[in-house]
């Protein structure tokens, strides 16, 4: 059985800065990392391989520098890495991205399981996992916090909910997205790093995947990001101190004099 892990290279948000004038990300000097949620997906894929065998393929779409993220996946233990890179892929939204990833996965054989993180820390949409599943007409389960059992035929897992979890059983092949509770990702080993340095990163372009160019990249994206901005900080509140009777009186007085304008936030 082959296992595919879809990963995304993202800016390291632990030290991110936004240009307040243009409201865009300052990319200079910001290190690129594998989306942290995808690290859990890689780890889980490796654990499944160690348990029931198979091959782990790391898959990513992006510019050539994404090869570095794929090398990291190999250093952790992935058997091969495929980079989907083509100018035609640029500007893809979640629809076009998942269509492209699905097209690449269709080129692979004997796929039993496709994993990814629950969302990327830059876009935060969480749509690509389910999107790939729909394009491939495969079932999917999102937000998995634990895989109880897995074989080449079926999976029993726990899906995280706000106030508990769902225990689900499903047939393979399937697409799953994972949350951070699922495991603690390993660190790359020296042998892994050395293997990654030498490893060949397989690259596929749009022509190879065979999806018409008008359906991918910016052309194939029904949504577009018009603006990115830092939400304005909420205004400072006011705390009235003293006995309840006094504070209520103070609050009323404040409201009456118009110190707090109700509805102001809505108008903005």
């Amino acid at each position: 059985m082959n296992i595919v892990v879809c990963i995304k290279q993202v800016p390291d948000t632990t030290n991110i800065r936004i240009n307040p004038e243009t409201n865009t990300l300052i990319r200079e000097g910001v290190e690129s990392i594998i989306n942290p949620f995808d690290m859990y997906a890689i780890e889980e894929a490796l654990r499944i391989k160690e348990k029931i065998g198979g091959k782990v393929t790391a898959l990513s779409m992006g510019p050539p520098q994404v090869a570095e993220a794929l090398r990291t996946a190999i250093s952790l233990g992935a058997d091969e890495a495929i980079l989907l890179t083509d100018r035609a892929f640029a500007g893809a939204d979640t629809w076009a991205t998942s269509l492209t990833l699905a097209g690449a996965i269709r080129k692979m054989e004997n796929i039993g399981l496709i994993l990814m993180g629950k969302q990327a820390i830059d876009g935060d949409t969480g749509q690509v996992g389910p999107g790939v599943a729909e394009h491939l007409r495969l079932p999917h389960i999102t937000d998995i916090r634990k895989i109880e059992e897995i074989s080449e035929k079926e999976i029993v897992c726990e899906r995280l909910l706000e106030d508990g979890y769902l225990r689900l059983k499903a047939q393979l092949p399937i697409i799953i997205t994972v949350v951070k509770e699922i495991n603690e990702p390993r660190l790359p080993s020296l042998r892994g790093k050395m293997a990654a340095k030498k490893a060949e990163i397989i690259t596929w372009n749009a022509e190879y995947i065979g999806i018409p160019v008008e359906e991918i990249g910016l052309n194939g994206s029904p949504t577009q990001v018009l603006k990115i901005f830092t939400p304005p900080k909420p205004g400072g509140g006011k705390v009235f101190e003293g006995e309840p009777a006094d504070t209520v009186a103070q609050l009323l007085a404040e409201l009456k004099t118009g110190g707090i304008q109700l509805g102001a936030a809505k108008e903005e």
Binding site: R186, L187, P188, S189, L190, R191, G192, K193, M194, K197
Partner: protein, 386 residues
């Protein structure tokens, strides 16, 4: 300063540094306080292939030497000199197997040690034989194809935790220092027991125990090198391992200096950061100078060892003394820079000072090291005069 590491050495440094920061530092104070042996970290180090770096490739190693080992020990020690010692002490136990082991012994032990699945230890010191290592009385009496061992080894790092021990014992007491041999003894051998775990001032996450031999029978095939070579095995092992102790001292000192400078920048008194006061600036500058000088010497000694330079005993001792004395001064000054906070157990400074102290004492006290250095000077002077 740039020490021009190869790409592979840089990879080793980065790997060790990441483990130190992400895995060791969060545990350091708790493991020190409770004296927890870091088996969880040993597993992480093993999985990361760090035990492989100084083991030959034919035994599942990566083929490096003293330099690679020193880089790892230094990085790990920045976070915790005690936890780093589980690694370094296994290295001390592995070196004699690499240097003197038979093909059979190497095949049996090195791959398992390389993976980090098991640890090694080295046992020379006894209650009445410390600096005077020739005074050991633990005996290994030849008896047919076996040795029968009796006696007690003291303060053995990784004692009780390690699987395989290189033990220096008297196989022919009538010959004194020339009558000792190095013998591999596996944990669990009948007649081989451990004493209580010592309660130490520092490096408290490491395990230090007595090894007690009572009619412990081991086959003669467990001997490393020839009979009577025990003292030589010990000395050659120390020649190679001393940069490791120096590296431990460097790591502890660097960790303390980094924290002290960061603290001095943010601690304000008299309306400005204390780092702006010349009194502290002079201290920080002295700390940095001593550290860099000790590092330069340590690295160069390690490279000499790996290049196969003969007679490294003198320079190896120099690196150990310079780095450990520097670490003691630097950690003491780091506590001073932290002021009252430095004296509190809530902060890592007092621990680093406690951890630094041992590096002046073990693997040959700094006084014995100075004697070794002086002996080499005298011999060299005599040689020149012919």
């Amino acid at each position: 300063m740039d020490y021009f590491l190869t790409e592979e050495q840089q990879m080793i440094r980065d790997t060790a540094a990441q483990i130190a920061k992400e895995k060791i530092e969060p545990l350091a104070l708790e493991y020190d306080e409770k004296g927890i042996f870091p088996w969880d970290i040993v597993k992480v180090l093993g999985d990361a292939d760090l035990f492989r770096v100084f083991i030959p490739e034919e035994y599942d190693g990566l083929g490096g030497g003293a330099f690679e080992m020193s880089i790892v020990v230094e990085e790990l020690s920045k976070a915790c000199g005690g936890i780093a010692l589980a690694y370094a002490a296994s290295g001390l136990g592995i070196i004699p197997i690499i240097l003197f082991g038979s093909e059979e012994q190497k095949k049996t032990w090195l791959p398992r040690l390389a993976s980090g699945e098991i640890l090694a230890a080295f046992a020379l010191t006894e209650p009445n034989a410390g600096s005077d290592a020739s005074a050991i009385i633990t005996s290994a009496k030849p008896d047919g194809d076996d040795y029968v061992m009796n006696g007690t080894k003291q303060w053995i790092t990784n004692g009780g935790e390690a699987e395989i021990y290189t033990v220096i014992a008297q196989t022919d007491p009538s010959r004194g220092a020339r009558g000792s041999s190095a013998i591999l003894v596996q944990k669990g051998t009948p007649g081989f027991e451990f004493g209580k775990k010592e309660d130490k001032m520092g490096i408290r996450a490491s395990a230090t125990r007595e090894l007690i031999f009572q009619d412990c029978r081991v086959p003669k095939t467990n001997r490393l090198g020839k009979e009577g070579m025990g003292f030589m095995v010990a000395m050659k092992t120390f020649d190679q391992s001393r940069p490791g102790v120096a590296a431990q001292a460097l790591g502890i000192a660097q960790g303390a200096l980094d924290k002290a400078v960061a603290y001095a920048r943010q601690r304000e008194q008299f309306g400005r950061p204390v780092s702006s006061f010349q009194g502290l600036q002079f201290m920080m500058a002295d700390m940095a100078m001593q550290l860099e000088a000790a590092r330069a010497l340590t690295y160069q000694v390690a490279r000499n060892i790996d290049a196969g330079v003969k007679n490294v005993a003198g320079i190896s001792a120099m690196a150990k003394v310079l780095a450990s004395d520097a670490a003691m001064r630097i950690t003491t000054d780091a506590v001073q820079i932290f002021g009252g906070y430095g004296y509190m157990k809530d902060y890592p400074m007092e621990k680093m000072m406690r951890d630094a102290k041992i590096t002046q004492i073990y693997e040959g006290t700094n006084q014995i090291q100075r004697e070794i250095i002086a002996m080499h000077l005298i011999k060299e002077s005599m040689r020149k005069e012919g």
